[in-house]
Symmetry: C2
Subunit: 163 residues, 2 copies
DNA sequence: CATTCGTCATTGAATGTTCAAGCAGTCGTA
DNA sequence: TACGACTGCTTGAACATTCAATGACGAATG
């Protein structure tokens, strides 16, 4: 029996996919470089601080933080290890589950975030929002929400716009 | 003199940015995992093989390949080192510039690519194109082209849709 | 309560990426 | 030709990420 011919991408899809690959690579490099230079951390780490800063008491369970950030628990462990080393996050035992750990944003961490935020926002705006029409921003949001929901493990229940 | 207040993102931009971050993270993880599992290489490396396979004589100057792929020359050197180790790419001296190196796709490399392609396309399709309308695919393409052109170093002269 | 299974989080090794430094060759210019 | 500046590519070390294995605890079951 012959294996079925794969459904290749048509021309428009191909062009869109290549544009997406180029743009997402360029964008993440651009953002990472800006943050590394001005704040001494990669974008992933910056995002962790943002989530913590928006959470009640500036703390979150490791697993929750990993889910929100779309990263593995392992990666989060390493990352928090580094942030703890920097004095920006501290670990505390979870009061209700002795297996659990809370990641807590320190004052220094909050300060580092506050210092980094303006430059970061400016970079995002320059690279993305200043170049798109209001309509395109809507379209992009809709598209990305759809994609994220399709790939999210828990039916997307943990996605940011569902909070 | 007061530093000027940063122009924060408005609510719609904020939501779009978070959706973008979630989706791009999930998507690249998804694609990377699929390729790592089924083809033994990350997506970046797969893309290198694709570019080579589409190039005349299946070869490209290192710098050109780096520019097309939107990665640094350093990263490319390491990557090609690994691909060469796998027997998928070989290096040759450039005939016209003695500083230069050509990365050449081997038969084994072409075979590895051919074997990996169907599964990869299927993954991209499932994650992205099967979930978007034809109109959204156009919109996404337009948006991503705009972003890439804004961030490309050479005025975007090396972007895929400009070939 | 004892067993078993699942969850929370971490670890170390292997792999990939970045950054700054370095070597060799080319180009422009006097 | 000689010089200095620039380009092409590589290297090693520091850093980040993945993967599989592990220990500790919780929850369900008998």
């Amino acid at each position: 029996m012959a294996t079925t011919e794969p459904r290749w991408l048509d021309d428009g899809q191909q062009k869109t996919w290549r544009a997406y690959m180029a743009a997402s690579q360029l964008l993440s490099d651009h953002i990472d470089r800006q943050l590394q230079r001005d704040a001494g951390m990669p974008h992933t780490y910056y995002s962790l601080l943002v989530w913590l800063s928006e959470s009640p008491e500036r703390r979150m369970r490791m697993t929750d933080l990993a889910e929100r950030s779309k990263i593995t628990r392992s990666r989060l462990s390493h990352a928090v290890g580094r942030l703890e080393h920097n004095g920006w996050v501290r670990r505390e035992d979870c009061p209700t589950d002795r297996r659990g750990q809370m990641a807590v944003l320190t004052e220094e961490g909050f300060a580092a975030l506050a210092a980094a935020a303006p430059g970061h926002v400016e970079a995002v705006r320059c690279a993305l929002f200043d170049r798109l029409s209001a309509e395109q921003v809507c379209q992009l949001g809709e598209i990305m929400r759809t994609v994220a929901e399709g790939l999210a493990p828990h039916g997307g229940a943990d996605l940011p716009w569902r909070r």
